[in-house]
Subunit: 698 residues, 2 copies
């Protein structure tokens, strides 16, 4: 977030190389687009007479997945949907946003056959723009070098223009208070000193005070400001590359360790379908969302292996990152990383044995470059079984009544990981599947702070609000937030669900049994007040405001003893919500970050929390806007939106690279199974020294 | 919590066997009592003429650690304390609570020499009693079998008295609303069906409606009530022992996995001192607190390996578990597990390869039985390096400005684990040390619910508040809370610290730089308001009420650029606080559970949040009572008290054994180091397939 450079490895691949699909594997309707398909889509769009304008740049190319009932029917048979065959052929379509002639064009492309064709076309008339392309950013980055005012600014700072590099930053949206530039696709650019011999840490050396305004369609600098000169922080002590900091490697050292699986891996990947323990799910890739988990179902081993639905589709919908400095060069730092830059497009190649352990397997992704040609994102998803030393369940029975025994079941989980590097920040985004039936989504933040150059070298010199922490000489780590918003289309045991607030409320003991009390000295207790959310307004929750268990339940399915089957939310840290004023522009665009939880009825078009055109969006097409309709969410096909949020006050330890900090949400079966699904799981008797089921007495 | 049976393996050991100390290792002043020492303490107490009354029962025997300045001087040299020699000999003393003649006697025993001697004696005159002994519980459990009203109650339920077993439950304290019994040491007993052929799960089959009152000193039943008969739930489906549920083991199966460390373990245990990576600390054992971590210091590798203090002493001070059923048989279920039952005394033998992974090492503990003789608690602490697949820090630099490279440092942590089984519940209590300088305390709950028998077999029959969830036929899982309160005597870089609230507060943009604003379209932002807590009242925080970073800082130590060195608190889930009414008796005893954070000045006698005599305590000697003095906590030796809290609404998955659920607190260096301490840590180049530091461009 924050984005002085293009952060992705661009590897163009030929369609021939990219066709390496498993020969046994027939396409799943939710499979991400292949390189071949992307090539065909490009050809279809370029061949279409509907948009003759050139040049034409591809901003988004993704799967336009078949309608949900058809996918459900394909995956689970006809019981839950209109169609009738599990071997049915579903339409294979792509959704494309391309820019040409100063307009954003939307195409639906049929790619079922070998020769793709455009099915429909529309021009986007509303506010906002699609994601930046690589080409946008690379071309813009070349502009300053030949822009005389900038060359002069650099010279004025004692630098050579060859030493600096600039990056494209979205300018946010500030209504009439920002110049409109005739509705052009305008960004800002800021610059840093780039000298990899001195340091890899380009973000540590900002050329503060200079902001350019660039029209990306005209690809020209249309505004320029050099407000003030600040000291460029020194390179010394900022590098983090192993070959620059050592040898000797004097940092703390833990010994190497590798997980060995004597019986091999426990999961099977067939195309994009994954089977592991009691889980089945589909792993997709999208250039905007990154990893997409679909059709996750859990086998109920106590019910003869019945496959039970949990999650139709889950992905990161948006990452909103507002900075907290109102100054001229910083006020617009209000990034929507997914909608502006694209999480899949910025997925980093995972480093084997470091980003993922040695027992991981890897998946590639493909997306379209600005010319429409396929780009291979290599090793951007990994899957591994996690042996963290945790315990799934345990109990030791005491000797007191004659039976001493311990039963322990270690926990092993399956992690699906992607690392998205949005310029300076690195998000490790995990989907962790647990045999107990939980899915835990984990956001881990690392990478590099956005730094602001300042003339102070010591805290004692500071007499103003610097809007951040002095983290090293001449350097402020600017205050900011991270709001990672997930789209989680939970389908608990079927499509129609309700959202339940089991409010945990204090009670006085009335002393009277008819009113829940009892004639005892106890004066108070708490109980659970069951509340069904009827409409969207009731589906919005700030989880810090009052204690409650929040559940998705299937009101039509009950356990044998009559409890509604459900999954509940377990937030695990990182529950911050936005503190921006409701009337502030960035807040209007991302007003959904005022509450962690929103529930909406399923609508195939409502995928992106900040709207389809998030770049310079105005808030008229976002999660909060949709929810204003206050639709019914009771016993409907509903979607959970959950935001993992952090207020980030930087500390010196965050420099030059930040130690990882994490937040998570677990969705956990709650009256979904008849009992703990792991009771009949085998103890680890083959593990070294295991004695998990010991008997006898002392 | 909740405690129908004695839950500990009692293994009496001879002093000769127990003397297996490392020959090179000279006693550390914080080492827990050895078997030899416990034997000598017993002899000294029994030989003392100060308390001639017999029988005399030992309720607590623990180390009376030397005064803090002396320990600091021993450990770190004279700089921080009055004494002068790091090889100084410190007094070796024990603190003993014994019951004789109907009184609680306190002894201080000198055990420096071979023949121990009583140094001081006092009689406890206030309210409350010491922890139960094993003997208390075993003797009480024998009473009902020959108590005619109970035999009749059992017969009335169609059971044989030989099929039932009863356990001692603390009766809480309810002022004048509960019979005083002349101030006697009174408990309640409740019973379950015990038939290990039918099921191991004795808690699943309560003999509901029957409560006995027992005087433990007279060891007699002094009250009896059989209020109503309820169906005893069936045994079928309640067992969890591997040999009863399989084969076949039809539960979800993940493959076995073992961490292999090709270069061996990275930590060294010398007696009770542990060295690992950049950490050094001492692991103790106490029959009340369980694991005690002392003298934790981190080496600042960027400062030439300077040893810097972090934690003087940390342990679980109390676990308060109030149940939420006001009914006659349940209202008093308001357990203080540490103070009533003892966490160390109830530590379970860890199951190798299951409770702890194969690469773990184990430690024993010793405590005193009620006769004063040493009891060996075997393998109750394990230490292992955790390879969870996490990343300590990472960054991928984009290709845009000519430098594509990724640097990744995997995270390896060191875990110190104990499992405490308090009757039905199993607490896995971890201290996780991280190379980044963090200590993470993790509470993981598993075990068995406290269940209440009820005549309902289906939710549809229920028309009342059952104060819990119908989790199987005839069985309610009763609502309850868990409040695990830690005593964390942080000493950040020295003894005198301050508690800082960095309040994260929203601001309007004034448009004027002099007031922190700027003339830009941005209307709002947040900033940090620094607040030093002056006195204890300001040291109490409900962390859910408003966003803030909470820190312990050393106001006398600053980083080179002038930030106060500190550690901050990062709560990670489980932030519930008590919902009981302030005037309710259990709340008065544990009123400190209304806020997660309390800060007090260090006082050697303030160890136990519910008071030294927690059993039937009245709240006059607890954390909240001490804090009413509102002492200064600014630039003092201060202690953090942090409560990990959960409201537990049971679900069917919690039956018959609960899947683990966790909460945590991390204390993390924050302007403690000059920069990320892991920058100079070697990348894992020797790991298979590692390519953590890749260069080049595409």
């Amino acid at each position: 977030m924050g984005h002085p450079v293009v952060a992705v490895a661009i590897v163009f691949v030929s369609a021939a190389i990219a066709m390496a699909a498993s020969s046994q594997y027939s396409h799943h309707p939710l499979d991400p687009l292949t390189a071949t398909e992307i090539t065909a889509i490009r050809a279809a769009v370029l061949a279409s007479p509907l948009v003759p304008a050139r040049p034409l740049f591809f901003h988004y190319v993704g799967l336009d997945e078949p309608d949900k009932p058809d996918v459900l029917s394909y995956a689970y048979g006809a019981a839950d949907a209109a169609a009738t065959s599990s071997q049915m052929t579903l339409p294979r379509r792509a959704f494309v946003i391309a820019r040409a002639g100063g307009q954003s064009h939307e195409f639906t492309v049929d790619i079922a056959a070998d020769n793709a064709s455009v099915l429909s076309h529309a021009v986007h008339r509303g506010p906002g723009f699609p994601m930046f392309t690589d080409e946008d950013q690379i071309a813009a980055m070349a502009l300053p070098y030949t822009y005389p005012p900038f060359v002069e600014s650099v010279r004025r700072r004692g630098l050579d223009v060859g030493e600096v590099g600039c990056g494209v930053l979205s300018r946010g949206w500030f209504g009439a208070e920002q110049p409109a530039y005739g509705g052009a696709r305008v960004v800002k650019m800021k610059c840093v000193v780039v000298d990899y011999n001195a340091t890899a840490n380009i973000y540590a050396r900002p050329v503060e005070g200079v902001v350019m305004v660039v029209d990306l369609d005209r690809m020209a600098i249309i505004g320029y400001r050099d407000r003030a000169v600040f000291t460029v922080p020194k390179a010394e002590g900022t590098d983090y590359r192993a070959d620059k900091v050592g040898p000797p490697f004097t940092g703390p050292a833990a010994p190497p360790g590798v997980v060995v699986q004597p019986e091999g891996r426990g999961f099977h990947v067939h195309g994009h379908l994954v089977k592991w323990a009691n889980w089945e799910f589909h792993v997709g890739f999208d250039m905007r969302a990154g990893t997409v988990i679909s059709l996750a179902s859990v086998n109920d081993t106590d019910a003869g292996g019945l496959k039970r639905r949990v999650l139709y589709r889950g992905f990161v919908s948006e990452i909103f990152v507002p900075y907290m400095d109102p100054e001229e060069e910083w006020y617009f730092h209000t990034f929507t990383d997914a909608g502006e830059y694209g999480l899949g497009a910025l997925a980093s190649q995972l480093q084997r044995g470091a980003d993922c352990p040695a027992n991981a397997v890897y998946m590639d992704g493909y997306y379209a470059g600005s010319d429409g040609k396929p780009v291979k994102a290599e090793d951007v998803i990994c899957l591994f079984e996690r042996y963290a030393g945790d315990v799934a369940w345990r109990h030791t029975n005491g000797i007191g009544l004659g039976g001493l025994f311990s039963e322990v079941r270690p926990d092993v989980t399956l992690v699906v990981r992607m690392v998205v590097t949005v310029g300076n920040y690195d998000y490790t985004l995990d989907w962790e599947f647990k045999t107990v039936g939980s899915i835990k989504i984990v956001v881990s933040l690392s990478g590099i702070l956005e730094m602001k150059a300042i003339n102070y070298t010591h805290v004692d010199q500071i007499r103003e609000d610097t809007h951040g922490t002095l983290i090293t000489e001449n350097t402020i780590g600017v205050y900011h937030d991270h709001f990672v918003t997930y789209h989680l289309d939970l389908d608990i045991d079927g499509t129609r669900n309700s959202f339940i607030k089991n409010n945990i409320v204090p009670k006085r003991n009335t002393g009277v049994r008819a009113t829940g009390g009892a004639p005892t000295p106890r004066r108070s207790y708490w109980t659970v007040l069951y509340e069904v959310a009827e409409t969207e307004a009731e589906g919005q929750v700030n989880i810090n405001s009052a204690p409650a268990d929040l559940l998705f339940v299937n009101p039509s399915k009950k356990t044998k003893i009559g409890n509604e089957v459900g999954y509940r939310l377990i937030p695990t840290g990182a529950t911050a919500t936005s503190l921006l004023a409701d009337d502030d522009y960035p807040e209007r665009r991302a007003s959904y970050t005022k509450k962690q939880v929103w529930v909406t009825p399923y609508n195939k078009s409502e995928k992106w929390a900040s709207g389809l055109y998030a770049e310079q969006s105005t808030g008229d097409d976002n999660l909060a806007a949709w929810s204003k309709r206050n639709r019914s969410i009771k016993d409907e096909d509903i979607v959970l939106w959950y935001t993992v949020g952090l207020h980030h006050v930087p500390y010196q330890e965050d420099f030059p690279v930040m130690p990882t900090i994490s937040g998570a949400l677990e969705v956990r079966p709650s009256n979904f199974f008849e009992r703990n699904p792991l009771i009949r799981t085998k103890p680890p008797e083959n593990s070294p020294n295991c004695s998990c089921s010991i008997g006898g007495s002392a």
